[in-house]
Every structure is written in structure tokens, then in C-alpha cells.
């Protein structure tokens, strides 16, 4: 059954996020041959519409309004609902990001539709679109289908492969004018804390520290390693509780769940709550002084040793590899 599917192209620092390309690939599975319509919302977005088409959108609808220069729940839900009203789609896909998590439930509520959040895989099977998603922070998985109405999902970054970029593709771009009213929440200030703009949930490499890091300064070698690998820094609850770092870095059953290509756990014992947040990473490296540490049970590669010796050596070795390749 061919379906028309909308995909919100999410913009961060003037560029489309990778997860939006992944969302286009998810939309292709849902569409089963139907049309994929990219949606761009912001104050000035037209520079990005081609990119959405290259990655799989058949056409793009843009909503531009100066009141949409920053994400707000009110502004973006009004804009997205207006596009939905115009297009009347059978499917809708967003990234499971701060924006996707915030706006999707509101839109689903307004449309009285279901919403399958935090999807890690998607397939067409037996006449249904089947979504796979982690539950209990990845201790188990469930497969879900939509039984009534719009097929609406948010997808977790880094899990669904984007389509190959094809600069030969072209498509129609239209603008929809939406009156944005009653913005009831106003952003006064944005404080940047994330390291070098590499977002933890989208990072391909995560270097994570636990109690073994011992201090705020102890995170410095981890940051250097993350930087060489173009990755992000994370932490265990132990490190956050000890005030070595901000709670926004916490990975685990409370905190963020990450699935990078490479997860390097430094001085982390591997409590079950932490494992829930990272054990579905593709490759796990553990560095810990204690050979009995639980983390070695889930690690693909382990080094028993002091992280303050191992991590700087590792950084140097990766630097060399970078120079050679």
C-alpha cells in the first residue's frame, strides 16, 4: 500500500542533522512506493531543501516565519500541524531528538493518533509496518505496529542507515505560510555546554568516564581522546553523583541511552543501570584497573590498567593512525 509520508528535517547550527537523513530512509520503508515529503520549519530554511531531496524526499514543504527562528513547542507544533492539514499524510517521521521528543507527543495528541517513539529498526512485513524499539532502556525490545490512524514514529539517531546521497535527484519545493500565534514559552538564553557540538545521542564514538576518573580534571584526558575521534564525552551515574561532571552527560537507565559505533568505558565498573544505557553500542572497549569489573563482561575489547596511563597512550596511537590514513 503506497503511503504519503512526511519527514521533518531538523536543523541544528544551520545544517540538517544526520538523523533527518535516517528519518528519510525510515519514511521510504513506510511509504512502500508512495511519496516522501520533506518538511522544513524555521525563519530561513530554503538553503537546505535540496539536501532533503538528495537524501530521499520527493518534494519539500517549507514553513518560514521569523517566530520560528528558535524551536518552541507552540511554534513548531502549529507549523507542523498546518503542513499535516495541507498534505493529509498517512505517515510522519521525526528524529527522537530533543525537538522530536518534545513536539511529537503534542502533535499526536492533537491528531488523536498513536506514536511509536525511539525506534531503532523498521520493516514492512505481512501488510504492516513493524517498528522495533528498546524497552527497559535496552534490557529488552518490542515490535510494534500502528492499529489505527497515522503511522507516526520518532527514530533514534545512529540506528537506521540513511539512503545514499544522490545529487541527481530533484523535486518541487513549495512554501506554506502559517500564522504563528500565542507563543507561551519564550527562550531567554541558550547555554552551550556540550563538548565541541558533538551531541551524545548522535555521536559515532563515546568516551565515557566513571568513578575511576576521580575528579573534574580527570575528565580532561577523556575529552582529548574524544576530540581525536570526533566523539562525545559521557559519564556513569557514579561520576555525576560525585560531581565530576554535569548530569547531562549521564548514560544509563536514568540518563541517556546511546548506541554509538564505538563506546570506550574508562574507570566504569559496569552497574546494570549503566549497561542498560550503552550495551547496545556496536563495539565496546573497557579500560579498568579491576580485572573483575562487570564492564568486561559486555566489552568486546578490554585493557586492565589505570585509565590515566591508558587513555593518553590511546589518544597518541589514534593520532598516529589518523596521520597514516
Amino acid at each position: 500500500m503506497a503511503r504519503k509520508v512526511l519527514v521533518l528535517g531538523e536543523i541544528r547550527d544551520g545544517a540538517l542533522r544526520n538523523v533527518s537523513f535516517e528519518a528519510l530512509a525510515a519514511a521510504k520503508t513506510i511509504a512502500e512506493g508512495g511519496e516522501i515529503v520533506g518538511v522544513l520549519i524555521g525563519d530561513s530554511v530554503s538553503a537546505l531543501n535540496k539536501e532533503l531531496i538528495y537524501y530521499g524526499a520527493d518534494r519539500v514543504v517549507q514553513v518560514e516565519n521569523e517566530k520560528l527562528n528558535q524551536y518552541t513547542s507552540d511554534g513548531f507544533s502549529q507549523a507542523l500541524l498546518a503542513v499535516i492539514e495541507q498534505e493529509n499524510p498517512e505517515g510522519l517521521v521525526l528524529g527522537h531528538t530533543s525537538i522530536g521528543k518534545d513536539v511529537s507527543p503534542r502533535v499526536a495528541g492533537k491528531l488523536s493518533s498513536g506514536l511509536i517513539s525511539d525506534v531503532t529498526a523498521i520493516e514492512a512485513a505481512g501488510g504492516n509496518i513493524v517498528f522495533t524499539r528498546p524497552i527497559y532502556s535496552g534490557k529488552a525490545f518490542e515490535k510494534k505496529i500502528v492499529t489505527d490512524g497515522l503511522i507516526f514514529a520518532t527514530i533514534r539517531p545512529n540506528n537506521i542507515a540513511p539512503l545514499k546521497k544522490d545529487e541527481g535527484r530533484s523535486g518541487e519545493v513549495t512554501s506554506l505560510s502559517v500564522e504563528i500565534k500565542d507563543l507561551r514559552t519564550i527562550i531567554k538564553e541558550v547555554v552551550r555546554k556540550a563538548t565541541d557540538g558533538v551531541d551524545l545521542s548522535e555521536a559515532k564514538v563515546v568516551v565515557s568516564g566513571g568513578r575511576g576518573v576521580k575528579s573534574v580534571e580527570g575528565f580532561q584526558p577523556l575529552k582529548e581522546l574524544a576530540q581525536v575521534l570526533g566523539g562525545a564525552v559521557g559519564a556513569s551515574r557514579g561520576a555525576c553523583d560525585a560531581d565530576y561532571c554535569d548530569y547531562s552527560l549521564q548514560i544509563g537507565q536514568t540518563g541517556k541511552v546511546v548506541t554509538p559505533d564505538l563506546y570506550i568505558a574508562c574507570g566504569i565498573s559496569g552497574a546494570i543501570q549503566h549497561l542498560a544505557g550503552m550495551s547496545n553500542s556496536k563495539v565496546i572497549v573497557a579500560i579498568n584497573k579491576d580485572p573483575e569489573a562487570n564492564i568486561f563482561k559486555v566489552a568486546d575489547y578490554g585493557i586492565v590498567g589505570d585509565l590515566f596511563e591508558v587513555v593518553p597512550l590511546l589518544t597518541e596511537e589514534f593520532k598516529k593512525l589518523k596521520v597514516h590514513s
Partner: protein, 257 residues
């Protein structure tokens, strides 16, 4: 101030997940208040203590959720409501829960509604924003600080590691992120008092809802456990050589670098 907290009973984070008959096995499992909802309860109590008013905790679930509601009362909430859907709803989803909570809340005149930003079992994080949308009030998700001055509210929220400072007004729904506060443990006198605090029990009928009004829009067709991860290679030898070997393995065997 009229404050409501949305609470969900979840498995303890220590619990291993097992299956029985294709479903999550709940036998003998220790349950707790969803940890993010604990932040919401703590914040509600602090707001009440600073500004006056009353805190009501509400949960959609089964009889078993009474224990977690009593714990919230022992922490310091004033009243509780349990919307027991055990007999009416077999397979609900977030649409179901949000619809029920909205029916319960719609004539309560809540000034502030707090919830966890996500439950650690289902992990969808939908119910809070859905309820706010249905009630027609603004909402702010993943908050790490809340300041109320009259009806003006200043909030700090976590946005993927960065933070945003937001200004808004009551009535309002917020969802709690880690770092908002340190939830208190129930004190012994608190536990004694909690036994006498009012806990109202409701069913769909009491909210003028029929089963078909809350019928789920999605369905779980399979639950499975991830393949057990086998312990990998622990390297040995001189530390410098181990590091070299690791980088080599990541590059050529695992091919992630």
C-alpha cells in the same frame, strides 16, 4: 497552589528482565516509583512548601500502584488518586494513558502539573506533553530548574547537553530531568502519616469514559531480549603494546575507526 504529579510504577532499575510466555515476566519483581517521577514529586513538595497549596499524585495503573502512591504521600504529597484500569483496559498505549489523565485533570484547575520526562520501562516520554496539549496548557520538557514568582515561571531545561532558560506562565506542565533536585527519602513519621492521607480510587466509569474512548492506537506484537553479549578479548602484555593492539583491532577487525 494546586499541584498535580503524574506518577508511574516501574520495575526497579536493579531488575533483570526475563520473559515468560512471550511477555515481560512480572512475578516477584521489585517495583519502584519511576525515578524521573521522584524528581517531579520532590519538586512539587518544594513548590508547595514555598508557595502554599496542595500536592496530589495521580497514577493510571492497577491496584499494585497503591504502594508507590503511598510512598509519594510518605515523601510529603497531600493526596493521591489511583485510576485503576485493570478491568477495563487490556492493552493501553500512551494515547490511552494521556486521554484518561486528561479526563481526570480537566476540571481540577491545576496550576502546575509535574511528571517525569520519561518512564524507564516503556521509555516513550509521551504522556506529559500529550496531556498538556489536550488540556491546552503550555509545557516544558526535561527541566533541571524551576522558579515561580506569582504566575511567572523561569525554567532551565536540558537540551541534549546544552541548557535553555525559558520564561512562561502558569498554568503549566513540566517534565523532570535528572539534576532537578535530590528526592528525599520518606521519613518514619511520613510513612505513618501517609497511611491516613486520602487515596481516591477511580475507574473509567467515574471519568465518564468508555473502553472504546481510550482504545490504543498501537499494538505490541512481539517482545524479545537482546542476544546475550559474549565477553570479548582482554588484552595482555606491555601496556604500550596493548594500546597498539587495541587500536589495530578497532581499525582492522571491528572496523569502527
Amino acid at each position: 497552589m494546586n499541584i498535580y504529579v503524574l506518577l508511574k510504577r516501574t520495575f526497579d532499575t536493579e531488575e533483570k528482565i526475563t520473559l515468560s510466555g512471550g511477555k515481560i515476566n512480572e512475578d516477584g519483581v521489585e517495583c519502584i516509583i519511576n525515578p524521573y517521577d521522584e524528581f517531579a514529586i520532590e519538586e512539587a513538595i518544594q513548590v508547595r512548601d514555598a508557595h502554599g497549596g496542595e500536592v496530589t499524585v495521580v497514577s493510571v495503573g492497577s491496584e499494585d500502584s497503591e504502594k508507590q502512591l503511598r510512598t509519594a504521600l510518605a515523601m510529603g504529597a497531600d493526596k493521591a488518586a489511583l485510576i485503576n484500569i485493570e478491568d477495563d483496559v487490556e492493552n493501553g498505549d500512551q494515547f490511552t494513558t494521556a486521554k484518561i489523565l486528561t479526563e481526570y485533570l480537566k476540571d481540577k484547575g491545576a496550576d502546575l502539573i509535574l511528571a517525569g520526562n520519561v518512564a524507564i520501562d516503556g521509555g516513550s516520554g509521551q504522556v506529559g506533553p500529550r496531556v498538556a496539549g489536550l488540556l491546552g496548557i503550555p509545557y516544558v520538557t526535561t527541566i533541571t530548574n524551576l522558579e515561580i514568582d506569582g504566575s511567572n515561571v523561569t525554567i532551565t531545561r536540558d537540551v541534549e547537553g546544552d541548557s535553555e532558560v525559558i520564561e512562561t506562565t502558569l498554568p503549566l506542565l513540566v517534565t523532570a530531568q535528572q539534576g532537578l533536585n535530590e528526592p528525599r527519602y520518606p521519613s518514619l513519621p511520613g510513612i505513618m502519616k501517609a497511611k491516613k492521607k486520602p487515596l481516591e480510587e477511580l475507574e473509567l466509569d467515574d471519568l465518564d469514559l468508555e473502553e472504546e474512548d481510550v482504545e490504543a492506537k498501537t499494538k505490541t506484537i512481539e517482545v524479545y531480549l537482546p542476544p546475550k553479549k559474549e565477553a570479548g578479548k582482554v588484552l595482555s602484555g606491555d601496556l604500550g603494546d596493548q594500546v597498539k593492539e587495541l587500536v589495530h583491532l578497532l581499525h582492522t577487525e571491528a572496523k569502527v575507526i
